[in-house]
Amino acid sequence: MASLIAGVAEPPSSFAGLTTALAVLMLVIEFGMLQATLLRAQIRLYAAQSVVISVLAVVVAFARDVPELYGLAAFSVLLKVVAVPLVMFRLLRRTNQEIAGSRALGVASMVLLAVAVAAFGFFASARFQLGSPVLPAAALAVPVAVILVSFVLMIVRRDVASQAIGFFALENGVSLASLVVAAGLPLILEVAFLFDLLVAVVVFGVLIRVHHEQSESLSTEALTELRG
């Protein structure tokens, strides 16, 4: 513990720099998801974000000597980079690939909104001063920004695929938070959250199957049977 605390006083180590860079990269990819016009692009961006989080897990595993994280990284590559995107491609094979029209806002206002929300998350979480011992004070700020932007993504894109991807990105954001703030957190938590991903994919499959019989639409405008 003492050596960990000593790290705070020094200038940012290459480890801190690398993790922050990777975390910011995740945020940038998420901004890409906000304005993706094709389903395939959306899913590829998610796979790319998942690659980044897996690399980050390896970096943390190496730097902080938490060997279990290698296992998590391998599992998350298998599931989030390979399995989930493949299943999504397969489920959406027969549907219209064009989702540009699902934006509730114009691209510019959407990105501005996301920037505002991300900035809010960034500065609000900095006020809590939850720097992890080996990481700069921004450790929690970037994950919070990633999580908030994923909410924006789920809200402003009115197609079920983007909603699903938004939730998957949220999961990536929470993984990021657990890696940078609490690398010692029991791994089983992470793995349990991955199960949610799987169920989301299964229910997504049911939804596509049920709706495919009536229409080709992926728009959430069709999901208005239950209200009041």
Binding site: I147, P186, I188, D196, L207, V210
Partner: protein, 490 residues
């Protein structure tokens, strides 16, 4: 006694495995047997937990856990019995054998995850158990395979999972807070957190508590993150709706209570109570407004669940010992009353072939058992004496007056009365207004679809009467102990 904890976490899993066996009668028989056995086992925990926590490895049952465990086990047993009758009505489905197979496996798995949650000794395991309840129940909501159920399951998965993501963030922040005081080997167990008390970093605990209320509150059905709840409750198979409403919401509230305990020890009770009061009041207000002029029977009961979860949050925010007693009793009485109401609604829906309140008329003439029992359940939900919810809500309001929260207490009484208006108008129309005459009106036979669907309701009303008239001494001791734990006793 610790062996009981192990049995409670293993038996339902055994039920899952046995439900996979071929044979039409194996799964129902196994589920009913194990459900009743779990209820019996939980009852044996009552006297022990009233004297202090029962611990076995990573399982731990104190008085608060046993109260929630009791409600869940009661739902498991009654819902299993009810399902036998419910599935008989699904026989005409083309895929019946697949449907019933999945149903029984899902029911046991769902009950297992909910029985595990209150027994977990630690915030990490608790989060995982709540997470598993989401995973299983989402699949159960989607089971019917209709457009409506697919839509409901999708909204449920997305909203509840996003909520659980926030709850995981709360767990992470609490882990950070604990580890900064208790060292890196800290594993999120309750007792060290409660003992660390004021030493925990305050901003982190504040953040964790608010995140937990929003995150787990999504599954509790607190405003404004309740939006999945009416959809999922109305589209799930009826026994699952009953379990969602009576047990799942309560189990999620249990998670909020654990964070409340830690936050109240660390920060003093002012901050957590304020947060819960705001969420509780808004939920109660929204639910009361939606209950008036609700057109769908199962949605009506779903909004009533939002109302009662709001009452629980308000009860905790009052903070007087008698309010805590009321909250814990309310959990049990709500489990019995809401499951009864859903069971009755399921029979009404089956008999009339619709969930539209406007098309259900003359229930008392047609259903000689269900209609009076449903009426009892609705009166109980409206906190009428002599049922258990009268006693619990009375205690909560008394607690509000005792801690000088006059305005919230008065607002609560007013909103509960408004909710009563909505519930009673709908019920009166369905049960007492005679069927309109016309061709086909006289052909509907008088009688119950299945005795299996009536028996659990009789048990539920008896339980409500016992809770309302004179709770057994052992239970009263358990609740008193639980209230003391909530008030800060270790």
């Amino acid at each position: 006694m610790p062996a009981v904890l192990l049995a409670l976490t293993v038996l339902p899993l055994l039920g899952v495995v046995l439900s996979l066996l071929p044979g039409r009668w194996i799964a129902p028989a196994v589920s009913v047997t194990i459900g009743v056995a779990c209820l019996g086992l939980t009852l044996t925990l009552v006297p022990a937990a009233a004297h202090g926590p029962v611990v076995l490895g990573f399982l731990r049952a104190d008085a608060i856990s046993v109260v929630f465990e009791l409600g869940t086990a009661f739902l498991y047993a009654t819902a299993a019995v009810y399902s036998v009758g419910y599935l008989r009505g699904e026989h005409e489905r083309a895929d019946f054998s697949r449907y019933s197979g999945l149903f029984w496996v899902g029911l046991n798995l769902f009950a297992w995850s909910m029985l595990c949650a209150p027994l977990m000794n630690g915030l990490a395991l608790l989060w995982i158990a709540v997470e598993i309840t989401t995973v299983v129940s989402a699949l159960l909501v989607a089971l019917d395979g209709t457009r409506g159920s697919a839509e409901a399951a999708w909204k449920y998965v997305l909203i509840a999972s996003a909520g659980l993501g926030i709850a995981l963030l709360a767990t992470i922040v609490m882990d950070y807070a604990g580890a900064s005081v208790l060292g890196p080997s800290f594993d999120l167990a309750f007792t060290p957190l409660l003992h660390a008390g004021t030493a925990l970093p305050h901003p982190a605990v504040q953040l964790a508590f608010v995140l937990a209320v929003v995150g787990f509150g999504t599954k509790v059905g607190l405003f404004p993150v309740h939006t999945w709840l009416p959809d999922a409750h109305s589209e799930a198979p009826t026994p699952v709706s009953a379990m969602l409403s009576g047990a799942l919401l309560a189990v999620s509230f249990y998670a909020v209570l654990r964070y409340y305990q830690i936050a109240a020890t660390t920060l003093g009770s002012g901050f957590p109570r304020g947060v819960l009061l705001v969420f509780g009041m808004l939920s109660l207000l929204l639910a009361a407004l939606y209950l008036v002029e609700q057109g769908n029977l199962k949605r009506l009961l779903a909004y009533s669940s939002v109302e009662h979860m709001g009452i629980l949050a308000i009860g905790v925010s009052f903070g007087a010992p008698i309010a805590f007693t009321g909250v814990l009793l309310h959990v049990l009485a709500h489990a019995a009353a809401k499951s009864n109401a859903f069971f009755g609604a399921g029979v009404l829906v089956r008999a009339y072939g619709t969930k539209e309140i406007g098309r259900i008329r003359g229930g008392l003439d047609r259903l000689p058992w269900t209609a009076p029992l449903f009426l009892c359940a609705i009166l109980a939900l409206s906190a009428m004496p002599p049922f258990g919810l009268f006693r619990s809500e009375f205690q909560i309001v008394a607690g509000g007056l005792a801690s000088a929260r006059y305005v919230p207490a008065a607002a609560m009484v007013a909103l509960v009365t408004l909710a009563f208006l909505g519930l009673s108008m709908a019920t009166t129309r369905m049960l007492f207004v005679p069927r309109p005459g016309g061709p086909g009106a006289a052909t509907a036979p008088r009688g119950e679809p299945s005795a299996w669907m009536v028996a659990p309701m009789v048990v539920g009303v008896l339980a409500l009467l016992v809770l309302g008239l004179h709770p057994p001494d052992a239970l009263a001791a358990l609740i008193a102990r639980g209230a003391a734990e909530l008030g800060g006793a270790l």
